[in-house]
Amino acid sequence: MLITAERLNYTYNPSSPFSTQALKDVSLTIGEGEFFGIIGHTGSGKSTFVQHLNGLIRIPSSLKKYKKRKPKKGEVPAPEPVLRVGEFDLTDKKTDFRALRAKVGMVFQYPEYQLFAESVKEDVAFGLKNFSPRPLSAEETEEAVRAAVELVGLPYDEIKDMSPFELSGGQKRRVAIAGVIVTRPEVLVLDEPAAGLDPLGKQEIMDLLHKIHKTWCKTVIFVSHDMDEVAENCTRVAVFAEGQVRFVLPPAELFLHAEELISLGLDIPLTAKICRALSRRGIEISCDFTTEDLIRSILACAKERGCVC
């Protein structure tokens, strides 16, 4: 599913003293099959943007009560926003938002806090039951739930009747993700999927996302604060700042703009920091900012100068 957004604007608490414009003319295209990263500060509009993708925040023209306002004399009407996710037009009142939400799975921050059912089985099945266009038989449900739980790397038969609250933190997060992918969404959106985990837990979640990306969901979009994570994993990255998109680039090109990123108050990955420190000492290393490539480039450079046998 190709995602196209053009000229998105959104204001929280409009016409009140607390009004803040969270999105300003945001245009962004995310292709099918991407592993797309979104970075930016708290309050930069990244969460507001991703909530548009499955209609949690609606474009005004898609709401029932929306009436087109006649432009006043001499007024040039503002260009209409565009938001398409695959075949769904999110600016249209006639769009079936339930079908859209089954196709665009959304995993919020700390998804383990949203577990609620008495058993793992029921918790994972909840979304499936609610999004299915027709009632599912018990066997069909069980089959789908088993597949989802096993995909996230948990033993289904062992944990299906356990309370989700008996599981460890990492396992809970996996169950929560299973509850989203069980509807087989084509696009999976995650808001800081690795936040709050220890380093190994983080690595496991990123490995899981790659597995989901290869098998079930064609497109994975994730919001992150961890630049190293972004540099190692993404095909492309969008940088949000003050409600606008500043860059949309593959990590290998994005982190060449280190100065601008730092001036936006963002971090740069460790690999980029090392490259900059080396460059100040007159050593230019070109790499795609993954750890592996940095090490390879430094060693290659050393070999060239004959310092490594």
Partner: protein
């Protein structure tokens, strides 16, 4: 005098032991980092320090006062402040000033004194401008700084941070860590920093690694990170920069172990120029 002393402490939540025969001494004014993967007993350790939990075996002294004695608890809790992980769960009032005053009011300070304590605490965390702001409208990092201020208003000698930066973005994390470092260096407060961000542990005087309720490694942070094979057996990863050092060494570039990117760059530059001469 030692700030915290654990003598052969064990504790269980009913099942297996969360803390197992643990002994630990933290000197006054020391900055100690406690590392460990999820479930290694780090948070239990924090809760034992001010009597939120009582040990099953062994005893704990805080400035030579036993935590096990009920009449000591009030003094101990004044002296040991804990900041927890979730910034949203720790605010008790809607306005910053009231929130900071809460603890001070509860230990029965005079009104003027509370005012002075609020001024002091706000200044210490750099939040003077937010005195009358609503807690709910602050960022995560700001909320954590208010939580720290609330603890500081009690003028505690020991500050325990139980993964207090885990839910913050990088800027918020830096803000909180800078404040904590300053409180330790300038005001001489003892700090116990519980974290799984290896980079944060580098600021400490001493690091302690926990696994299954026991202390398995101790030393200065750079000592600990040099023993990376051991760390991995305790389910802890080396900081990324440590992995890079290691990979370069294995590739035949003789760089020394360091955890600072400037130093690493210097090492690499030296290695590269050596052969040129």
């Amino acid at each position: 005098m030692n700030a915290i002393e654990f003598h052969n402490v064990s504790f269980s939540y009913g099942g297996s032991f969360a803390i197992r025969n643990l002994s630990l001494t933290v000197g006054e004014g020391e900055f100690i980092a406690v590392l460990g993967h999820n479930g290694s007993g780090k948070s239990t350790l924090a809760r034992l320090c001010n009597g939120l939990l009582e040990p099953d075996e062994g005893w704990i002294d805080i400035f030579s006062l036993s935590v096990g004695k009920r009449r000591n608890l009030f003094t101990i809790r004044k002296n040991v402040g804990i900041v927890f992980q979730n910034p949203d769960n720790q605010a008790v009032a809607s306005i910053v000033e009231d929130d900071i005053a809460f603890g001070a009011e509860n230990i029965g300070l005079a009104r003027e004194e509370i005012g002075r304590r609020i001024d002091f605490a706000l200044k210490a965390v750099g939040m003077e401008a937010y005195r009358h702001a609503a807690c709910s409208r602050l960022s995560g990092g700001q909320k954590q700084r208010v939580a720290i201020a609330g603890v500081l208003a009690l003028d505690p000698k020991v500050l325990i941070l139980d993964e207090a930066t885990a839910m913050l973005d990088p800027r918020g994390r830096r803000e909180v860590m800078d404040i904590v470092t300053r409180l330790n260096r300038e005001q001489g407060r003892t700090v116990v920093l519980i974290t799984h961000f290896m980079e944060e542990a580098l600021r400490a005087d001493r690091a302690v690694v926990m696994n299954r309720g026991e202390i398995v490694m101790q030393g200065t942070p750079s000592d600990i990170f040099e023993r990376h094979e051991e760390l991995i057996t305790y389910n802890l990863a080396l900081p990324r920069i440590g992995c890079i050092c290691e990979a370069l060494k294995q590739g035949g570039l003789p760089v020394g172990a360091t955890l600072d990117e400037e130093k690493l760059a210097e090492e690499i530059a030296q290695c590269l120029s050596r052969q040129n001469d």
